[in-house]
Symmetry: C2
């Protein structure tokens, strides 16, 4: 085996059919009757999926290492193994009744890149790694992205291992049970990290594009608020004597929408959870609680949205004669990916002639944490109707192959110098 | 004992202190730690309250009859017992953690009228009856007012007896268990029926009035509706691609309010119960259900409100690109009380020099059903802050006494000819 030239590398493509077959084979593990998967982190199904991944990367000639958070690192050697590797990967866990592609697509596309490099007899300068991160979803153990967070130094190892599921089991216990508890957490220099993922939103498909070049991730601010009025008899309380907390709710739903539109097109605002009390058809609601979240890639805009929310809620409470509380319970700063890595993805996509656009990730991903310790970028492919975290989640084989090719070319570029 | 003259009867007053003492004694049965009562229909507490009522009316010389729905009829004989009696009464059951006056005040004020007639040695022409209606609240057995409804021919006896509570027990079973299952349902001619009740609303107190002369009851229309959009990721779905069912909810809350205000001051509209799906902070609501009810004393206005609602909801769904369903699930026509009985109450109140106004009942009452088979009117007294169905429900002894006096004079008037 000898290194082929840069010219030849540009012509390299993944085997899209093989990638698709691997995706379909993996989707049998934890398959649900409606075409999705339930493969919660560190469940028996997750163990089966991990075992299959390990078998496949070993068959592809990789060495395998598991760290203390159960992250699996598969390494294909380079010409100079003293150099920092280039890496790719995503997660193998799913939401309950989740989709067949969220996470695992990025893992198996990494595997496919290695298989394709093997087929072509390409020897890269730097080692190439494929990582399967533990518990990205946070569906079983909160918080989400806890294991890439530990790897990146966002969380302490002890914190990560002590996270519990709904029945009180810890990540440590479950890692030991399924045989994926490594000895230590081994963060190390990574030359470049690329995560390939489905968009989980409707933009690419709607614009008939195949690739999203992800420039960063939206910052998030999460709030919990409530309005308090006076619960009252629906028949005996005249309209002008009511202090109806549901009207506060109605106003804050529109306020949130207006704030996002005013900071469009990138701003998002969602009032996702509501609760009125006493929630009886014949009682004017005395209390109304809500959650609200803002997302935007620019921290200054988020701050402006925050100020508009505070002011708006105060105005609503005054106008409707309601008490009000509003608390920011969580914030996550915007992520800006490494401009060089983003440029490599963009150039690879353009050279492959896939229709693309730059895009900002609205969701959190392991790459958002890895970005703190290594030059990082992400690649999106569309998903049907923008649907994810749902058994109906779907992609086309053509999109799958295109994402694999962009990942292959980006990794090749970063691994060559 | 001989009949006293009309002139003397005008001077008759109830013993307000004794009425208050009876209220306080009764309030010990099912007392809650926050000053209310829990005396659900046909519970052990309801049985104790019934036993005490029966003891008191028997001590006052009344004969007692219980019908097949457990309604208790206490009769004080008149000079001509072949004449149809005049009757008063209300209910002894309460809401869970309800108040000390809702219902039972009208029952014990009737008892106090009889005690006062006894004290004054008044013999009326017609018999006077005090009725304790079963399960007015509907809190344990739906529907509300089921036993006065059976008495009035609104419901069949078998329907009434077969109503079940949350644990599957029927009214029949529970009447037998507590010893209040009479042999038959004995509807009979009633010359006039008066129900004295707390307002359960804020109007009288706010206007510094002591008595409400109730001219009728609001009609009601109950609806269940929902909006359906598309559940979507809160971070990856741009605002202009959302079909957010919560925005439909916000719009319908304001629509209902606007319709009621447009038909003010008597119209009421309440969106009391809300449910969004999936109700997660990070998911745009794909579905939002709500209940809505309208009340107004005029059927034509209710029809206009209904039409405005249908049109408004259609407009909301079109504007927000949502699916929508709206179903009227219940309607209750406006109640117009007997003008002669209402006039008797008004005249008695004026003669007693209590500040008063005519008022429409926003709530349903047993009198609304009795009105279908006998000339009927109601008398309201204020309650503090308009609060009812709540342990904080409260009245003053002064209001209590005033209501008792109006009831006494109204019954005396109707019983005298």
């Amino acid at each position: 085996m000898s290194a082929i030239t840069g010219q030849d590398n540009d012509a390299l493509r993944v085997n899209g059919g093989r990638l698709w077959d691997s995706l379909m084979q993996m989707a049998r593990i934890g398959a649900t009757k409606n075409g999705g998967v339930t493969r919660l982190a560190l469940s028996d199904e997750d163990k089966q999926a991990r075992d299959l991944f390990v078998q496949w990367v070993q068959e592809a000639g990789c060495s395998v290492r598991v760290d203390a958070m159960g992250n699996i690192f598969a390494r294909r050697p380079g010409r100079d193994n003293a150099l920092a590797p280039v890496a790719t990967g995503s997660h193998g866990d799913s939401q309950p009744q989740g989709g067949r592609f969220d996470g695992i697509y990025g893992v198996l596309a990494g595997l496919e890149v290695i298989r394709s490099l093997n087929d072509a007899g390409v020897q890269t300068l730097r080692p190439v790694e494929v990582v399967n991160w533990t518990n990205e979803e946070g569906a079983r153990f909160a918080p989400a992205m806890v294991a890439s967070g530990v790897f990146s130094g966002v969380f302490a190892l002890e914190y990560g291992l002590s996270r519990t599921d709904g029945s009180g089991l810890t990540i440590r216990q479950e890692l030991e049970r399924i045989g994926y508890a490594g000895a230590d957490i081994a963060s190390y220099p990574i030359h470049a990290f690329y995560e390939l993922h489905i968009e989980q939103g409707p933009i690419l498909e709607a614009e008939n594009l195949t690739i999203g070049v992800v420039s960063g991730g939206q910052g998030q601010r999460w709030y919990e608020g409530d309005f308090s009025g006076q619960a009252a008899h629906a028949g005996t309380t005249p309209m002008n004597r009511r202090r109806d907390a549901a009207r506060g709710l109605a106003a804050v739903i529109e306020l949130a929408h207006d704030i996002a539109v005013a900071h469009g097109p990138l701003a998002c605002a969602t009032v996702g959870s509501l609760q009125v009390t006493p929630n009886s058809r014949n009682v004017v609601p005395g209390r109304a609680g809500y959650t609200l979240e803002f997302r935007h890639p620019d921290e200054d805009i988020l701050a402006a949205m925050h100020a508009a929310l505070k002011e708006g809620v105060t105005g609503i409470a005054a106008r409707l004669n309601l008490g009000s509380s509003l608390k920011q319970i969580f914030s996550y700063p915007p992520v800006v990916f490494d401009s060089r890595c983003v440029g490599i993805v963009r150039a690879a996509t353009a050279k492959l002639a896939y229709p693309f656009r730059d895009i900002v990730s609205g969701a959190g991903h392991d790459a958002c944490y890895i970005n703190r310790i290594a030059p990082t970028a992400m690649i999106f492919i569309p998903c049907v109707d923008g649907i994810s975290h749902n058994e109906r989640e779907d992609i086309s084989e053509q999109w799958s192959t295109a994402g694999g090719n962009v990942l292959l070319q980006s990794l090749l570029h970063s691994a060559s110098s």
